[in-house]
Subunit: 377 residues, 2 copies
């Protein structure tokens, strides 16, 4: 096996819900190797979207059929608007129309939208069907395919309806990232660098050196980055599967990020990963303003983002009409709000993130006002 074809497997330990994440190049074309052993019966439904289907549906199906696995397929429209109640209902009914049994396995082939929707659908149809994730974006490989969070968007915010539900297997094919557009790849990278910022200074330093290579297509660097990210997330999730405590660290940049996404309408104007990138820069800036984090660390974060052209201020957005109040209002609707108190992930430095509910609203408001006036620096 050459270096480019090397695969590595990470076991996510969750008792009887444990599963493997397999990371490497060219996995989809040989998917049956890993999928066949985890099927209760040789019957699958592959659910994908119109962007992903032309690239990866045929090789995935060919691999499964060559292993005598029955493959049905459902192709959905691409885009965030597919993560809706309407598509959830249609997908449930379409699956039921195929007379599935609890032993039929759903395979989610696509990015986070497909993974989240199919995961919640798998949790719900027949009150639970097995499912497998084949994430095809960097974001979904490092984020939404680990941790069991599934769900759909609502009028009141993103991911507010869903289930904690674990896949039987995740196949993260780093070759699939070749067909991803550059902006989506960069948005995914924001979640990769997040794991360095949370608790792994070494990984952040490795990324400072190698981010450009993995972005440019180096498969070994991609595998290392995906595996390190998944391992970091899996470690936190294993400790806190249902999000009572430490898992909140994974929300670094997300409290701000969700507010930005809500205000832009969850569209193409601002991708989730871009929102998280800006949100992480805001979290480090807030930490600096509160004298928790040295200015050189928050500066180093921004410098790295600048070096690889990852957005890290509001200048990329049309913020006319935005106010700190509107953003605060979005933040107060976050799932993690408890007793009316916002939860923030702040940092004492790179790799030293922590959870707090003790941030004065005035400080947050002041930061938002400054950033809206492009006085972030």
């Amino acid at each position: 096996m050459t270096a480019a074809n090397a695969t590595e497997t990470l076991r996510v330990e969750l008792g009887e819900r444990s599963y493997d994440i397999v990371v490497g190049a060219d996995l989809i074309a040989h998917a049956a190797t890993w999928i066949a052993p985890v099927l209760a019966r040789p019957r699958t439904i592959v659910i994908t979207d119109e962007n992903v289907a032309p690239h990866y549906l045929a090789p995935l199906r060919a691999s499964l059929q060559a292993a005598n696995i029955d493959v049905d397929t459902i192709t959905l429209p691409a885009g965030e608007q597919t993560k809706s109640f309407v598509h959830f209902q249609t997908l449930c009914e379409d699956i039921l129309a195929r007379r599935v049994e609890r032993s039929t396995t759903l395979i989610a082939l696509g990015g986070g939208v497909i993974g989240d929707l199919v995961g919640y659908t798998a949790a719900s149809v027949l009150r639970g069907m097995p499912f497998i994730q084949v994430p095809t974006t960097l974001l979904s490989q490092v984020d939404s395919s680990v941790g069991g969070k599934t769900g759909i968007n609502t009028r009141h915010g993103k991911n507010l309806v869903g289930a904690f539900y674990q896949p039987k297997l995740v196949l993260a094919d780093t070759t699939a990232l070749n067909t991803l557009d550059h902006r989506q790849l960069m948005a995914g990278y924001a979640e990769v660098v997040k794991y360095g910022l949370i608790d792994d200074l070494n990984f952040f330093e490795w990324l400072e050196l190698h981010a450009q290579a993995l972005i440019d297509g180096d498969m070994d660097k991609r595998r290392h980055a995906v595996l390190t990210s998944c391992a970091a997330k899996a470690r936190v999730v294993a400790e806190d599967e249902r999000e009572g405590g430490r898992r909140a660290l994974l929300n670094l940049g997300h409290t701000f990020g969700h507010a930005l996404e809500a205000e832009t309408g969850y569209g193409d104007k601002l991708l989730h990963g871009e929102a998280v990138a800006i949100g992480m820069a805001m979290a480090f800036d807030l930490s600096r303003r509160l004298d928790i984090c040295p200015g050189q660390d928050s500066g180093r974060v921004s410098a790295h983002f600048d070096a690889i052209c990852l957005p890290n201020d509001l200048a990329v957005l049309d913020t006319i009409g935005w106010t700190a109040d509107k953003l605060l209002d979005h933040m107060s609707r976050d799932k993690k709000v408890e007793g009316g108190k916002l939860t923030f992930i702040l940092a004492r430095g790179i790799g030293q993130a922590f959870i707090t509910r003790d941030v004065a609203e005035a400080e947050v408001r002041s930061l938002l006002e400054d950033w809206l006036a492009n006085r972030s620096g």
Copy 2:
């Protein structure tokens, strides 16, 4: 405490998801006594329907408010059609519009429709909110409030989308049955007698003696019947929370019953409990035809149903145009189908039910044809 006010509590043991079922008269008016101790925060949303609200919403709210518990309310249309994707979506959005937190508790006040819909909604909103069941029908007190099955109906069948999700508490107020119409009460009674038929001949014999009294309003008899039924179900569920094995016994009468309901369109023509009653009579008849069960036992079941005027043949239905094929088709869509094989619960006698996948389709077809021709006896 007088006999009429006696309450009994049953603990359902499911590890960290364990909860109490409190059974007795006049519980709703004193609901806070049991509800206050299980709330994470003193904030609740009571979800009920237009039939139940006029009777029980005011006393429930008064009891909670007197205990300084915040009470919001949502009242839905009554009837099976409320257990739909549309109402699920609307309810999720309505709950989110109230800016709930994961510590806000949903209270389902009503029958099985409200319990199943609110339970699934509680499982889904914010990926899981605590909820309490206050079942107001006999059916929901003995069936849908125990076991954690929640869900909604689909185009392809009833309860095919949902979650296994446990309440924090169940309050079964036997006084609430006074406002239930007689047909609904009898439909609920079908699920009570089911527990005798499955594995408790003594309970069946007690019911032969006391069924009429509990139907007529004897609170002690009601409490005993509800508690015995819940205990029987809880015993089975504790052994098999996610429905792999023994739990299937609870589906006695349901494979046939679901087919009858599907064919009548899940409307008022045939209530769920009526379908189960007929289904149980069919299951005993099938057992007799297969020489598994003595004719005197299947006759005794029908005689008891006749004595209390519970439907036990297809004569109550307009079956013009029905065929055995149509009913078999409905049966094949059941969630419990595995490898294309139908699961039946048959009985070697009263109190001796068992699970089997070895029933020849020809036997089932012949039984259905005979029953459709009203040759059940």
